[in-house]
C-alpha cells in the first residue's frame, strides 16, 4: 500500500484533484503562518500571505514536478510572497508590527515566564534581517534539514551551515542584549 506523502497529494492536485489541496493546507497552515509571522512581524499580513500562498500553489500547480519535495517548493513560493510584500511596505511600520505580534502572547500566570522568554526571542528575531530570520525559523524552530534549506535557497549545505551560524551569532547578541537591558 502506497504511503500518502505530501508529494503524492500534490501530484493529485496537479492532475486535477484540486480538492486534495485542502489536506496540505490543513497540515501545513500553522507552519507557513508562523514563517510569515517571523518575517513580517504582523499577524494580519501573515494571514493574507498564508491564503495567497495556497491560492498561488493552486494557480501554479502545473509547474510542480513529480517527486519534487513539496515543502522546499512551497517555501520558494512563500519567499517570493514575502519579497513582494516587503517591497510595498513602509520601514516605519516595523516597531509597531513587532508590538502587534507581542500582544498575542497570553498572560496566564504559570506560563508567564515562558511567554516572556518567547516574546524576547520573537523581538530579537524580528530585529534580524529577513534572510537570517528565515534561516533560523527553518533550521532551529522547524527543524528542517540543511539539505532542504539548501534546496530552497539554491545553494550548498556547507554555505547554509555557515549562514546559520552567523544568523545564530547575531541572534545571540540581540537576545542577550535585550535580556540584560
Amino acid at each position: 500500500m502506497e504511503f500518502l506523502t505530501d508529494e503524492k497529494i500534490m501530484m493529485d492536485v496537479k492532475l486535477g484533484d484540486t480538492n486534495r489541496l485542502s489536506m496540505l493546507y490543513e497540515k501545513h497552515k500553522k507552519r507557513f503562518y508562523n514563517y510569515f509571522v517571523k518575517l513580517t512581524n504582523d499577524t494580519e499580513v501573515s494571514q493574507d500571505l498564508l491564503q495567497n500562498l495556497f491560492v498561488r500553489i493552486l494557480k501554479y500547480k502545473k509547474s510542480y514536478q513529480q517527486q519534487q519535495p513539496f515543502l522546499p517548493w512551497s517555501y520558494r513560493i512563500a519567499r517570493n510572497l514575502v519579497y513582494d510584500w516587503s517591497k510595498k511596505r513602509s520601514p516605519l511600520n516595523v516597531v509597531l508590527e513587532v508590538e502587534k505580534v507581542a500582544d498575542q502572547v497570553v498572560d496566564d500566570g504559570e506560563a508567564q515566564q515562558k511567554a516572556d522568554r518567547e516574546e524576547q526571542l520573537r523581538k530579537a528575531i524580528a530585529r534580524l534581517p529577513a534572510e537570517k530570520s528565515e534561516l533560523i525559523f527553518w533550521t532551529k524552530i522547524e527543524g528542517m534539514k540543511y539539505e532542504d534549506v539548501a534546496n530552497i535557497k539554491d545553494t550548498t549545505v556547507g554555505a547554509i551551515k555557515v549562514q546559520v551560524h552567523r544568523a545564530m551569532a547575531q541572534l545571540k547578541t540581540l537576545y542577550f542584549e535585550n535580556n540584560e537591558a
Partner: protein
C-alpha cells in the same frame, strides 16, 4: 598560558563547524575535549545551545479562526466544472414536479389504466433518481456530490442502480469527503450482500487515512468477517499510517 590562549583562538575558527554539525562524531568528540580548556568558547557553546533549546521549544502562534475562508472559496471555485451544468437544486425541483405531475395523473386515471400508470410512475421516479445521482456524482463540485449522496439516504428500499452509483463514487470519486459520504450511505443497505462485498473490496484501494478509518469502523459495526483479510494486510503494512493500523488491529480483535 600564552600557547593555550593561542590555541583557543585557533579553535574558535572551527567553532562554526562544531556547532552546526559540520564535524564527524569523532572530530566533534576531539574538539569537545580541546575546548574544555577555553572558558570563553565554552561559554559561547553553552549560550548557543541554550538559544537553540529555546527556539526548538517555540510552539508558534495558532492560525486565527476565519483565516481560511479566502483559500477555501478559491478552492471551491477552482474545482467547480467550467462547462454548463444544472444545479442539484434545479434537478431536484424537476423531479419534484415530475412526481407531483405523476401523482395527479395517476389520480385522475380510471379503472384498468391506474395500475399501469402507477407502475410507469414508479419507473419514472426510479429513473429520475438514478439520473439525479449520476448527474450529481459526475458533474458538480464536491459539496454538490456529497448532497447527492445524502439524497439517496431518503430512499427506503435499496435500489441496485443507486447502489452501483454509490459504489462507483466510493471507489473512484476524487474527493475523500465524497468517498466517506458514499461509504456511510452504503452502510444503510448493509443487508444487501453486494454492498457488504463492495465495502470490503473498497478497503483494498483506499489510500486516504480518513476514508480507511471510516471503512474500518463501518465494517466493524457490520461484523463483516470478510474484512479480516484486508485488516490484516493493513496491520502488517508498515507504510500505512499508524492510526489506521491501530484501528485495523481493533477491527481484528472484534471480528476474530
Amino acid at each position: 598560558m600564552k600557547t593555550m590562549k593561542h590555541n583557543c583562538e585557533t579553535l574558535k575558527e572551527r567553532l562554526s563547524a562544531y556547532l552546526e554539525a559540520g564535524m564527524s562524531v569523532e572530530e566533534a568528540k576531539e574538539f569537545g575535549a580541546l575546548i574544555a580548556h577555553c572558558p570563553e568558547i565554552l561559554k559561547e557553546v553553552e549560550s548557543y545551545r541554550m538559544l537553540e533549546g529555546l527556539l526548538s521549544e517555540e510552539e508558534g502562534l495558532p492560525v486565527p479562526d476565519g483565516a481560511d475562508e479566502f483559500f477555501y472559496h478559491q478552492l471551491e471555485k477552482e474545482s467547480r466544472p467550467k462547462h454548463f451544468a444544472l444545479s442539484w437544486q434545479q434537478i431536484a425541483a424537476a423531479i419534484a414536479l415530475l412526481i407531483i405531475g405523476g401523482i395527479i395523473g395517476a389520480g385522475i386515471s380510471s379503472g384498468d389504466n391506474q395500475d399501469a400508470d402507477i407502475i410507469s410512475l414508479k419507473d419514472d421516479i426510479r429513473q429520475m433518481k438514478q439520473m439525479l445521482v449520476s448527474a450529481m456524482l459526475e458533474e458538480h463540485s464536491a459539496m454538490d456530490r456529497i448532497k447527492a449522496v445524502s439524497f439517496t439516504e431518503e430512499m427506503v428500499q435499496p435500489d441496485i442502480e443507486v447502489i452501483n452509483v454509490l459504489v462507483k463514487s466510493l471507489t473512484s470519486d476524487k474527493s475523500p469527503n465524497v468517498r466517506i459520504a458514499a461509504a456511510n450511505a452504503l452502510e444503510k443497505w448493509n443487508e444487501v450482500p453486494v454492498v457488504r462485498a463492495e465495502l470490503v473490496k473498497a478497503m483494498e484501494f483506499q489510500r486516504d487515512p480518513i476514508v480507511q478509518i471510516t471503512l474500518i469502523n463501518i465494517l466493524i459495526s457490520m461484523g463483516e468477517k470478510g474484512a479480516v483479510k484486508p485488516f490484516r494486510k493493513l496491520v502488517e503494512d508498515e507504510s500505512v499510517e499508524e492510526l489506521v493500523r491501530k484501528q485495523a488491529q481493533i477491527g481484528l480483535e472484534v471480528l476474530i
